[in-house]
Symmetry: C2
Subunit: 395 residues, 2 copies
């Protein structure tokens, strides 16, 4: 590793992004726009690690050139040639100083700020490849949605990345449908970031402190407003638990119960999300994150308005099929996050003996299992309500 | 006034409802279902005051009888004959023990619980007619949405009713689209009720105490779940301020900005609603009412999903017309609540010198006035955000 003029020793942060899917490419675009706009703090170039694969550029692409594109090309080469990710974010211009690389070591080697945006199941193997290759004083942000839940407990992907690499890692989450952000439609996001600098490898002299202001400046765009908070756990939990609630609202919409019922389910769901954070991350989770921030209430609203979990749950009721069957017929082999999270969270709650404290999340699992009917939701979420016989009056 | 077996002296509460529109008739149905189901506490009969008008029953009505219905009839007589409000809630069966009356004195005379559900502009004149005619120990609930805002300050309709009649009046509000509740689709509601019994005329001996449990029992149905709280101001404020936010989300939807942007506006709107309650009703308003209860977050969600304020604001952007013009062309002479509330709240905030503390609500007024463009909303609601030049990268 040679120290060039652009090395962090130059007093400027170098940013790298690990991952290049729909959301990864969108975040890369944001980062690169900001490194260019703030050349006093950031080096312009942003390296983006791409899982190398072959891609056949369609001949309908405006830059299709039969002399080069008649056969499948490496995706990294296409990205660097077209300044676009034609497979995962087609039609969106990427800044030319995003450099796609298939070599993870090359990507992270001299980056003082690492941004992770990969499918969560790849976290262990990617971290293994990065270990020892990155700058010891690097800081990281995870844009990976959700948390890892097992019977042993719940862990945050940001914590997992941080521990594996021996660095600090915060988390970004919000009401951020990637395609809308990529088109520069306005949205907000939340970044949880609270490093204890006294326990971290110090930054080289001259390199600006990586604090809330710097991270906000790195991610904030006129169309992507960033709110910085300390609560990393709350940011991550919201992005996982909302998918369970989105399934519940899908069931209710499938029953044709209307907007009142849907809003009621969302309200109860939000309170269960908050209670979960309070109960299992009491030291690190502030309850206001759920009710006040983009990663809480706003992300919940977006996920219950559209999104795959909501849609598949709705179709399952309308067609009288299981959500698994709908997933298979509608999603071309992709997997629903919500059904997996509902199962994991249920198993965790069962082990903790707290399923009754979370009646809505528990009911979603039971509806998926076929042991509870969605029509029972009103009584389930409000078990203390007075029971009355149905109205006998008919026209 | 003679004391019959069913007089409150009998140990049972008598319930009357003042108002019979869409929402009033729906609430009457709920009340009557509960008075029938709980004959130990309530007298079965529920009187409903109806503003008398002539109504021509359409010959397509299943109970149309040309010998009776060929000419317009009194609405009260039709309601009592058909057990349906054919003008304002057609197609919904009302319990036969709802007795419609055009005589307000007859309606309230021996009622120990009065429920108000009239257009807010009629509150003063109706209260004048009721004054001195009601039981001195009656308790009341207002289902009138919103608050009264003027330059002099903000007053709750429930307070206004209570003061005019010298009785206590609580408030009911929630994510309650009337037509869905009338069809017995599931919803929740919030009732704010906190009488200081020591300052009220005591109930006759033997008449059950009018507390949270009794009021919940009077309104709760299997399809209409009631949460009782003390915060009357919060319940009432939510129902008013949400209409301003619904206009804002309509503007954003009209711009085609997508679900992320809409959720962001709702999030910011909810926080401004809460701040308003905290700032101007600090003694009587709990902030959690907005973020946790049906009358807060859930009602906001429903109003921003559909509803007239949202729809008219969206159309105004799509068609390049003012919201007033859209109101005239789309609403058949009905008036939007949101535009009026936005103006009233703006004038109040201006007088208080706090418009900058409520940038979203202020922006909605300015957009309605044409002095601000809806495209400016992101910067307006987040005035401290770092300003960056727009992205120069195009494909």
């Amino acid at each position: 590793m040679t120290l060039g003029a652009d090395h962090p020793g130059s007093g400027k942060h170098k940013v790298a992004i690990v991952g290049s899917g729909n959301w990864g490419s969108t975040i890369a675009k944001i980062l690169a726009e900001n490194t260019e706009a703030q050349s006093d703090v950031f080096q312009k170039e942003v390296k983006m690690w791409v899982y190398e694969e072959k891609f056949q550029l369609p001949d309908s692409h405006p830059k299709y050139d039969s002399s080069k594109h008649s056969k499948p090309s490496n995706l990294t080469e296409l990205i660097n040639e077209l300044h676009e990710n034609p497979k995962y974010l087609p039609g969106v211009a990427l800044p030319e100083h995003i450099i796609a690389t298939p070599d993870i070591k090359d990507c992270v080697a001299d980056a003082s700020i690492l941004v992770f945006n990969i499918p969560h199941q790849f976290v262990p193997q990617i971290c293994k490849q990065i270990e020892g290759q990155h700058l010891p004083y690097a800081r990281a942000i995870s844009c990976i949605k959700g948390v890892s839940v097992s019977e042993d407990g719940i862990s945050l992907f940001s914590d997992s990345i941080g521990k594996r690499l021996g660095i600090y890692c915060g988390a970004l989450s919000g009401a951020n449908i990637a395609s809308e952000v990529a088109q520069e439609k306005f949205s907000e996001t939340t970044i949880g970031f609270s490093p204890d600098d006294s326990k971290l490898k110090p930054l080289p002299e001259g390199l600006p402190k990586v604090d809330h202001e710097l991270i906000q400046n790195l991610f904030h765009r006129p169309y992507f407003h960033v709110k910085m908070i300390d609560d990393v756990a709350g940011v991550s939990l919201g992005g996982a638990l909302k998918n369970i609630i989105a399934l519940a609202t899908g069931f209710v919409d499938g029953l044709g119960w209307g907007d009142n019922a849907k809003a009621a389910i969302m309200r109860v769901g939000l309170l269960e999300m908050r209670k979960f954070g309070k109960m299992y991350f009491s030291n690190s989770c502030r309850t206001a994150t759920f009710t006040e921030e983009s990663c809480g209430i706003a992300d919940l609203i977006t996920s219950c308005s559209g999104g795959r979990n909501h849609r598949c749950a709705k179709l399952s009721i309308e067609r009288g099929k299981s959500v698994d069957e709908i997933e298979q017929s509608e999603l071309n082999g992709q997997k629903l996050q919500g059904t997996l999270t509902a199962k994991e969270v249920y198993e965790f709650l069962k082990k903790e003996g707290t399923t009754e404290e979370f009646p809505l999340m528990t009911a979603v699992y039971n509806i998926l299992e076929g042991t509870v009917k969605p029509e029972e939701l009103p009584d389930i979420i409000d078990p203390k309500s007075p029971k009355r016989s149905p109205s006998p009056h008919k026209l």
